[in-house]
């Protein structure tokens, strides 16, 4: 028994890698459709957009990048599809150079299905370097920062931008980002203007974002792939979030089992060595 426990305790990392690989891969090949139970913060995020009247305008700022796309892109798609199905117009902006292709991808991919018009229902603003300085500018001098869209077309002639000279002219703000974006948005947009704000973040960032949700500064949070799956479930449109949740669930379960096994073996080995010492 002791020998087995020792072997378990010193298990080769590669065996763990194989177990994890299989636990993620198998549900992707053959989905098991585990139950989904949307969290309060996901439901609040969904409800905030769902209650917007057709024609109202949402400002969505993102820093989705290839490294975070697995979690953030399904959120972006879910929010976009929901907004378009409700007739809510979306103004997209980004703070990272890797984001524009994701934005053009999501806007182009769903145009036929929801029959929206670029410039009337949706617009993509160009990438601006500067990180937090850009968000400060959005909060204080929106019109001065953007006068053209990402293709170089003037915003002045676009129907979606009519009457928007200030960030306060939009009805809702959505921030979908991996690290610092939510902080910049709360500092320079939400706090000064009081605009209802939703945050989409990677799961690991949720602990940092939740205090702003508890305080009422964020009206909802879409957390990681699970948040995207919740959103898709609430909107009734399964997508990448839902299909990835089985793999994530099983992967997490294997992780929990590994942690439990590690603790059991460590405990038994310690007890064994104590007994031998006595």
């Amino acid at each position: 028994m002791t020998q087995f426990l020792r072997k378990l305790d010193d298990i080769d990392d590669r065996i763990i890698h194989v177990i994890i690989g299989l636990s993620v891969l198998l549900p992707l090949i053959r989905p098991i459709q585990l139950p989904l139970s949307p969290s309060d913060m996901s439901m609040d995020a969904f409800e905030a957009i769902n209650s917007m009247p057709p024609g109202s305008r949402m400002f969505l700022i993102t820093e989705v990048e290839p490294t975070t796309a697995a979690e953030l892109f399904p959120q972006l798609v879910a929010v976009h599809r929901h907004a378009m199905s409700k007739g809510v117009r979306v103004i997209y902006a980004c703070t990272s150079p890797g984001s524009p292709p994701f934005l053009t991808g999501v806007v182009n991919d769903w145009q036929e299905k929801y029959s929206y018009e670029y410039g009337k229902d949706v617009v993509i603003l160009p990438f601006r370097a500067g990180g937090e300085s850009v968000v400060v500018q959005i909060g204080q001098n929106f019109g001065g920062l953007y006068d053209q869209d990402y293709r170089g077309d003037s915003l002045a002639g676009m129907e979606i931008m009519q009457g928007i000279s200030d960030i306060e002219d939009v009805d809702l703000v959505v921030s979908i980002g991996g690290a610092e974006l939510y902080r910049w948005v709360v500092r320079h947009i939400q706090a000064p203007t009081g605009l209802p704000t939703i945050v989409g973040c990677t799961a690991v960032m949720t602990t940092f974002v939740v205090p702003f949700y508890s305080s009422g500064q964020f009206v909802g949070i879409i957390s990681g792939l699970g948040g995207a799956a919740d959103y898709e479930y609430l909107a009734g449109v399964p997508g990448a979030g839902t299909s990835g949740m089985d793999a994530q669930s099983l992967g997490h379960m294997v992780l929990l089992i590994l942690v439990a096994l590690g603790n059991i073996s460590a405990f038994l080995l310690k007890r064994d060595s104590n007994n031998k010492g006595n």
């Binding site: 990392d13 763990i16 890698h17 994890i20 690989g21 993620v24 585990l34 139950p35 989904l36 139970s37 969290s39 309060d40 990048e65 290839p66 490294t67 975070t68 796309a69 697995a70 150079p97 890797g98 524009p100 292709p101 601006r128 370097a129 500067g130 990180g131 300085s133 850009v134 400060v136 500018q137 204080q140 001098n141 001065g144 920062l145 293709r151 799961a203 949720t206 602990t207 940092f208 939740v210 205090p211 949700y213 508890s214 699970g226 949740m245 089985d246 994530q248 669930s249 099983l250 992967g251 997490h252 379960m253 992780l255 929990l256 590994l258 942690v259 096994l261 590690g262 603790n263 405990f267």
Partner: protein
């Protein structure tokens, strides 16, 4: 002069930005807006500077045949090819989109996905209960994880409620404390920079 001028600029700019936040003086507001605008423009230049810096560092690697200089050749080649395609054909062109979707995105996602392998291996060896504190830490982690995943809900439908409580009550309380402390630290650092007491941004340790 090399030190005094940047400190003076930091003092003037910092003071204008801080005061304009608290006082609604039109001239000050306009000046502050212009300064923030400059920051955005300077960030654009910083990107260009980054490219030049990368070229310098890696050209030196190649010239001196440092270890793994082949990777420097590859980096410069990819950077130049991407730049040329982006400039000549546009970032919406099929070639650029193909490179973005099938090279950059795929590589980025792959590197990120490696966490899924390294994290459980590390967790297996590191997440051990050695004290009461580590026990509480592990228990909280397990409960949050079970509340987050479908299997947890299938086992017991109260796991999501427990997860929400942990996130909203103990987590929020602790994070607020950390956030407020960090903000105070940030404010004091800002004040030190404005007053010229902290000059580390000039590259000195004073």
């Amino acid at each position: 002069m090399k030190t005094e001028l940047p400190v003076l600029v930091a003092f003037i700019v910092g003071t204008i930005i801080v005061v304009s936040y608290f006082l609604n003086i039109p001239t000050l507001q306009v000046t502050a807006e212009a300064l923030i605008n400059w920051a955005v423009i300077l960030s654009g230049f910083a990107l260009g500077l980054g490219v030049i810096n990368l070229l310098q560092v890696h050209s030196k690697n190649i010239a001196m045949k440092s270890s793994k200089w082949g990777l420097s050749v590859w980096l410069i080649l990819v950077m130049v090819v991407t730049f040329v395609i982006g400039i000549t054909q546009g970032t919406q062109s099929p070639v650029y989109s193909f490179m973005f979707n099938n090279v950059y995105t795929a590589l980025g996602a792959t590197v990120f996905a490696l966490h899924a392998f390294f994290l459980p291996a590390a967790a297996f060896k590191a997440f051990r209960i050695t004290s009461l504190e580590s026990g509480i830490f592990l228990l909280a982690g397990v409960l949050v994880m079970l509340g987050q995943i479908g299997i947890g809900t299938a086992i017991w439908d109260q796991f999501p409620a427990i997860k929400s409580w942990i996130m909203n009550v103990p987590n929020s309380s602790a994070m607020r404390g950390i956030t407020i402390t960090a903000a105070l630290g940030l404010a004091s650092t800002g004040l030190r920079i404005i007053l010229g007491l902290d000059r580390t941004y000039l590259g000195s340790a004073e």
